[in-house]
């Protein structure tokens, strides 16, 4: 599959993304790109659920938060290195998602969407009451923890590169799934679940698998992100608002496509960042973002990529 030009395009874009702030030494740019990269990871993995399987997961942020907690706990309490800690967090959350998925994926449509909110809120409250993880106070990282990465200053660059690597992995995974039998099965589920089932798609297994798969990379990213922040609290780890914003990003770029959610996440984050720091708009940033979303949903429901595909149908072939 490496003959596909699209794949090379992803890799090249990721390289530019990773190296541009490094060579310009623009730290402000790096912070903004880092946040955007995290959102791309969230949106791109959420797209596996929404865009492919047609299941709206409102509580997708729970993976991110849990991954962050497990990673920071391993780093502070057991003095692990951040990379194995983040990967362990990812694996654990993915396994947990498989377990949960078997339960709540029996629900469909809006019922499933509501259940995911319930799962997120219940887990947030559990963590609030879970003292080994600091309860509501959360976990604080000592500055010594950045030692193995060459001090706090260097650690920021290292985590940036790691997060961009996870972003790239998300896009490649999205591509690989889309072009596999598994992905076709998911798309069939998204079109008509009953029909898919009749035609031999093992729907319960596929759904649980995609739920679990969409948990892994966000959980790893959560570990890296909160390691970089140096602090994790239940209210910021399981923020339902961020979860819903991730859905907005998927829609903005075009759900079901590979590049769309990434594009949506990037644009959304840059727009919010701009509105927030522009003095004359900061009062109305929510209003502007909301009105924009309303217009997109009503008039360009396919998102940015959907619009491009409709306008120039030929682009469908190489711009996925």
């Amino acid at each position: 599959m490496w003959r596909r030009p699209f794949l090379w395009f992803i890799v090249a874009a990721a390289l530019v993304y990773a190296l541009y702030p490094y060579f310009t030494d623009d730290v402000g740019m790096r912070e903004s790109l880092l946040l955007a990269a995290v959102y791309i990871i969230l949106a791109s993995n959420l797209n596996l659920m929404i865009g492919y399987a047609g299941y709206v997961n409102f509580g997708n942020i729970v993976f991110f938060g849990l991954g962050g907690y497990i990673c920071l706990y391993l780093v502070t309490a057991l003095h692990w290195h951040v990379i194995p800690a983040a990967l362990t967090g990812g694996a654990a959350v993915s396994a947990l998602a498989l377990l949960f998925g078997l339960g709540i994926l029996r629900l469909r449509g809006a019922f499933f969407a509501l259940a995911t909110i319930g799962v997120n809120q219940a887990i947030q409250q559990l963590v609030v009451n879970f003292e080994p993880w600091g309860g509501a106070t959360g976990i604080y990282l000592s500055l010594d923890a950045y030692g193995p990465l060459g001090g706090p200053m260097q650690a920021l660059w290292t985590t940036y590169l790691m997060i961009v690597a996870v972003t790239t992995a998300s896009l490649l995974a999205s591509y690989a799934i889309r072009h596999s039998k598994f992905g076709l099965g998911l798309l069939a589920i998204g079109q008509n679940e009953d029909a898919a089932s009749v035609l031999g798609v093992p729907t319960p297994r596929y759904k649980a698998m995609v739920y679990s798969a969409s948990a892994f990379l966000p959980a790893v990213a959560g570990g890296l992100y909160f390691f970089k922040s140096g602090i994790i609290e239940p209210s910021s780890a399981f923020n339902l608002q961020t979860s819903i914003e991730a859905i907005v990003m998927v829609m903005l770029g075009g759900s079901g496509t590979i590049l769309g959610p990434a594009l949506g996440a990037f644009l959304y984050e840059e727009l919010r960042g701009f509105l927030l720091t522009a003095q004359s708009f900061s009062q109305f940033q929510l209003v502007i973002a909301g009105a924009l979303l309303l217009l997109i949903v009503q008039f360009v429901p396919g998102g940015l990529l959907g619009w491009v595909h409709q306008r120039w149908p030929r682009t469908r072939r190489w711009l996925e």
Partner: protein, 286 residues
């Protein structure tokens, strides 16, 4: 023992108001398959309408209730045409996003106007004291009004032609259209009704508790829980669901730290969704 009883009574009083809020959500869901994510924002609108009427115009607090019902209906119809009409019959995700966008706009305007500082409307009502426990007059009045409004909605839905039309559209929109029911108008009206209910519940909540522009989210989540307990799309069930939720909260509180209550609530929520997706009180569904 008396403590538990007091706690349960309090729970039921609050639960009736939660139920009223959830009725707005579930009515809209039942009629047009739209989960209204602007629900919390509308509850907040109701709160600030009370604040404006009482503090700016000097209206008596409960005088704001009928005003809010009318105003909520008008606002609801406006919101329907702005954000919901084009979403009817499209995938669920689209209406979720559209109403979420409305939510952002409403909250954003509110934040720019009132900031996110807390507001407080002082309502003086005689309270009832019993063996050291006090039930405040505002809670009792709010619960009573919630039940009355729920009753009026029942009359409207089940004993008027308009109600019949709404129920017909909820059951089968195409068939209703074929029977000559102007479905679009009915949908707009149902959305208006739902918004009016959510708004008036906000007004009642504001007579009891202080509020900020951001208070809506908590009530929106509660409404989801109540809706699921009562059965999605079932207004009569919603009131019972609300009371049930209040009862559960009241019963659980004396036996565990208050910070554990949300775990019980949301755990129950997920359990009910999986075990009774049509709601515990689904027998009342017409």
């Amino acid at each position: 023992m008396i403590g538990i009883l007091a706690s349960v009574i309090d729970g039921i009083l609050i639960g009736a108001v939660y139920g009223l809020a959830a009725m707005g959500l579930t009515l809209i869901w039942g009629v047009m398959n739209v989960i209204n994510l602007a629900h919390g924002a509308i509850v907040v609108v109701g709160m600030f309408v009370l604040y404006m009427l009482v503090s700016a115009l000097g209206l008596p607090a409960y005088g704001a209730v009928p005003v809010m019902i009318v105003l909520g209906f008008v606002i609801g119809i406006g919101l329907y045409w702005i954000g919901v009409h084009r979403m009817i019959g499209r995938p669920e995700l689209m209406s979720l996003l559209s109403t979420f966008a409305l939510n952002m706009v409403l909250i954003g305007l509110g934040t720019a106007w009132w900031t996110t500082s807390p507001y407080n409307v002082q309502v003086n009502m005689p309270s009832v004291s019993w063996r050291g426990y006090t039930f405040t007059g505002t809670h009792i009045t709010a619960a009573a009004l919630a039940v009355v409004i729920a009753g009026l909605l029942y009359l409207l839905l089940y004993h008027t032609r308009i109600g019949k039309a709404v129920r017909a559209v909820a059951t089968n929109r195409e068939a209703a259209e074929l029977c000559g029911i102007p479905t679009t108008q009915v949908l707009a009206m149902a959305f208006g009704l739902g918004v009016a209910l959510a708004g008036v519940s906000g007004t009642l909540i504001a007579t009891m508790f202080p509020f900020t522009v951001l208070s809506g989210e908590a009530y929106q989540l509660k409404s989801f829980v109540v809706t699921v307990l009562g059965g999605l799309g079932n207004p009569a069930g919603a009131l019972m669901g609300g009371i049930a939720l209040g009862l559960i909260e009241g019963l659980a509180t004396p036996f565990m730290p208050v910070s554990w209550i949300p775990i019980v609530e949301f755990g129950l929520f997920v359990f009910c969704l999986i075990a009774f997706p049509r709601g515990i009180f689904s027998f009342t569904k017409a």
